[in-house]
């Protein structure tokens, strides 16, 4: 009761000075639609909180310096080894600082959860068409956070200056170097000279602890402000229209649910951080020019690029007599195209579906089989690239020659995603004809009907037909600009 009294006093005190009563009341009464997939973005948000909290702890012990020193800490096998201050301090904070390893591992796991949650959130937005007008801005902001998150993650696992991350930095340097015309200058400016140089660790550090997370934090603010301003989308259903929001109130039910999710995310990140070892830098050893770890895999959020580097054939070409080396296409062009298409998707989707109005009611995935097919293609294509980044591990485990895997995977990554996309398209079409059905209810007869017989009403006016069943899904708000 004392808390209640105190909170009330403080809020009323504030209201007497900045007049917050009505705006706070509105915020507390704000309605948030209920669906479990609407919580995926929150998982990303709360793992970012976990990242910042554990990261601040780490900054108090980590020394981002390439200066050579001798490790003298508690980890016996490394005692007396000459290494950079960055590496020595990373081992020290893992072995000598109490709870240091817990914080370091939780930090790393939180990064993996953060980026996984972003991908899951992005998939939900994609499959339900939540990126459509008026939410293109938040789509673009979200993608930018995804990119910044990948960059922060890469900078983060590179700063301990261990042998594994040094190998990753080499590949990053070579990839940057491969860019036509500006590549060599870009790489030399970033590294302050040739690889490895002495500038890269402090530079990655300041990117990792200040510039990139600062940008992410600012974009999170914008993302949430726009979300609150526009109000959340909801799924079609009785009483749900383009002009209302149906769900729980921010205070207290939604707030409590969100707090529960936050604590659950922390439980997972600290649980993983305590119980599941990740990136044991003392096992990799310090970076040294002549060494490389094998097998060497990056974190999953960059492994798809690594997989592409491995599968791309030994093919280099020349423009005006100048060399364009092999890493350029898989390491630069492919990721750039990926993000370009993602950034432009709201506008591409508009062309495909001719849905130009404002959308407050979501599509179900099945409402747009083309989108389902595109997502399935992407999930399998990038998933297979991710698998290809571990081809050496797979080869060792199954005792098969790695080049057989590479040759097979080169074809598989091109063919299988197309096949999966086609299957997903057919399944979505079959499901669309029966809004009540789930994937498990599907019978072969219905699927075969989609493949063989193309009923005329589904052929041309498919979107109108789908909309007519549920008027709520197709209505448009306002007149448009």
């Amino acid at each position: 009761m004392i808390t209640r009294w105190a909170v009330r006093r403080v809020l009323l005190w504030l209201d007497g000075r900045v007049r917050i009563a009505s705006v706070t009341r509105k915020t507390l009464a704000k309605v948030f639609p209920d669906h479990w997939t609407f919580m995926l973005g929150e998982i990303a948000l709360y793992s970012f909180v976990s990242l910042v909290a554990t990261g601040v702890f780490l900054t108090l012990f980590f020394e981002p310096s390439p200066a050579e020193t001798v490790y003298t800490g508690a980890y016996g096998p490394m005692r007396g080894v000459r290494a950079s201050a960055a590496y020595a301090s990373a081992v020290t904070l893992s072995w000598d600082v109490r709870a240091g390893l817990l914080m370091r591992q939780t930090h790393h796991w939180s990064a993996l959860v953060f980026l996984s949650a972003i991908v899951a959130h992005l998939s939900r937005i994609f499959l339900t068409g939540a990126f459509r007008k008026p939410r293109e801005i938040n789509w673009v902001i979200g993608l930018t956070m995804f990119l910044l998150g990948i960059a922060t993650g890469f900078a983060g696992y590179s700063v301990p200056d261990d042998l594994l991350s040094g190998t990753g930095l080499r590949i990053a340097a070579a990839t940057l170097l491969s860019v036509p015309v500006v590549g060599p200058w870009a790489a030399f400016l970033l590294f302050g000279g040739g690889f490895p140089g002495t500038s890269i660790i402090p530079r990655l550090y300041i990117l990792h602890v200040l510039l990139l997370p600062g940008a992410i934090a600012a974009l999170i603010g914008a993302h949430l402000a726009i979300l609150i301003r526009q109000k959340h989308t909801h799924f079609p259903g009785p009483g749900r229209t383009q002009d209302n929001v149906v769900g729980s109130k921010m205070w207290p039910t939604y707030g409590f649910r969100s707090l529960a999710l936050m604590c659950a995310v922390f439980a997972v990140t600290f649980g993983l951080g305590g119980l599941v070892q990740i990136n044991p830098v003392w096992v990799w050893g310090p970076f040294r020019p002549s060494g490389a770890t094998s097998p060497a895999q990056p974190d999953w959020f960059l492994a798809w690029v690594e997989g592409a580097l491995r599968l791309y054939p030994p093919y280099e070409f020349r423009i005006f007599g100048y060399l364009v080396p092999a890493p350029f296409v898989p390491g630069v062009v492919m990721p750039a195209l990926t993000f370009l298409v993602l950034y432009l998707w709201p506008w591409l989707d508009r062309r495909l579906t001719r849905g130009r109005g404002r959308h407050q009611v979501l599509d179900r995935p099945r409402d747009s089989p083309a989108r389902v097919a595109a997502w399935a293609w992407g999930a399998s294509f990038y998933g297979l690239l991710l698998l290809a980044s571990s081809d050496d591990v797979v080869a060792r485990y199954f005792q098969i020659p790695v080049f057989g895997i590479v040759r097979t995977m080169r074809i598989v990554v091109l063919v299988v995603p197309v096949a999966i996309g086609a299957v997903a398209y057919v399944l979505a079409r079959a499901l669309r004809e029966d809004p009540e059905a789930t994937l498990l209810d599907l019978r072969w007869r219905r699927i075969a009907a989609v493949i063989r017989r193309r009923p005329p009403d589904v052929e041309g006016g498919e979107r109108r037909a789908a909309g007519a069943e549920r008027p709520a899904a197709s209505g448009e708000e306002g007149a448009g600009a």
Partner: protein
Amino acid sequence: MNGRGRRTAERLVAAAFALTVLAAVSFAAVYVLGNQTQLLGLALCLAFAGLAAGFAVWAARLLPQGPYVEEREAMISPPEARRAFTAELDADQEPVVRAALPRRMLMLALGTLGVALVFPIRSLLFHGPTPWRALRRTAWRDGVRLVNADGAPLRPSDIALGGIVTAFPEGRLKDDHAMTVLLRVNPARLALPRGRKAWTVDGVVAYSKICTHAGCPVALYVQTAEQLVCPCHQSVFDVLKGASPVAGPAARSLPQLPIGVNAEGVLVARGDFPTPVGPGYWRSA
């Protein structure tokens, strides 16, 4: 909710928060007793799991469930508000700047200032040579001695048949760019490109250790096949045929270092690598 269900829910919430109390105390106790990462993590995991369960049950069983309905205002202003807004921007049809000259000069000023402010980026490369010069050459020169990773000069006898030794230019043990591998093969089996016979010493050949694909050190030597393998992306180079790529994503041979023996019997370079070492970049040669 009836009174009984409510009481059960309240007890569940209390039990969940009690778990947090226990776990938090254990965390503090484990911390005081020593640095046991697994127990610390488990304790924090349970502490947050207790909070999560408590809040979740509280939200699901003890709080109003709705559904509530809120009106959604159109995310576009009414037409007259939009017209009034653009009119205000146009300052009532009175352009902010009447003459073109100050406006154009402002654009030019901002443009030049913007370009000028890009210049300090060049400071990021504040010492050392420019990229193309640094990438083209290494520290190897005629007569420079080959030393191992500890700085000891290397003699042909230090490289056993089937062995692999990493060499650096003397005095430059951290020179990644000049890193070289020495291998000894049966000289009769060597099938090097024309004119390179004299670049070897009794079957000892020297190649750049930096993979021409993505710059990893080519650290694995498969002795039986006489192939060098890059551990990063599994590029394979044929040692007998001038380290030409035979598999994997690398498209160019590892450059070969011409080597010889000086008067003391120590291995020396006979010049620099004939072509740039390491991953490819925008270059005409």
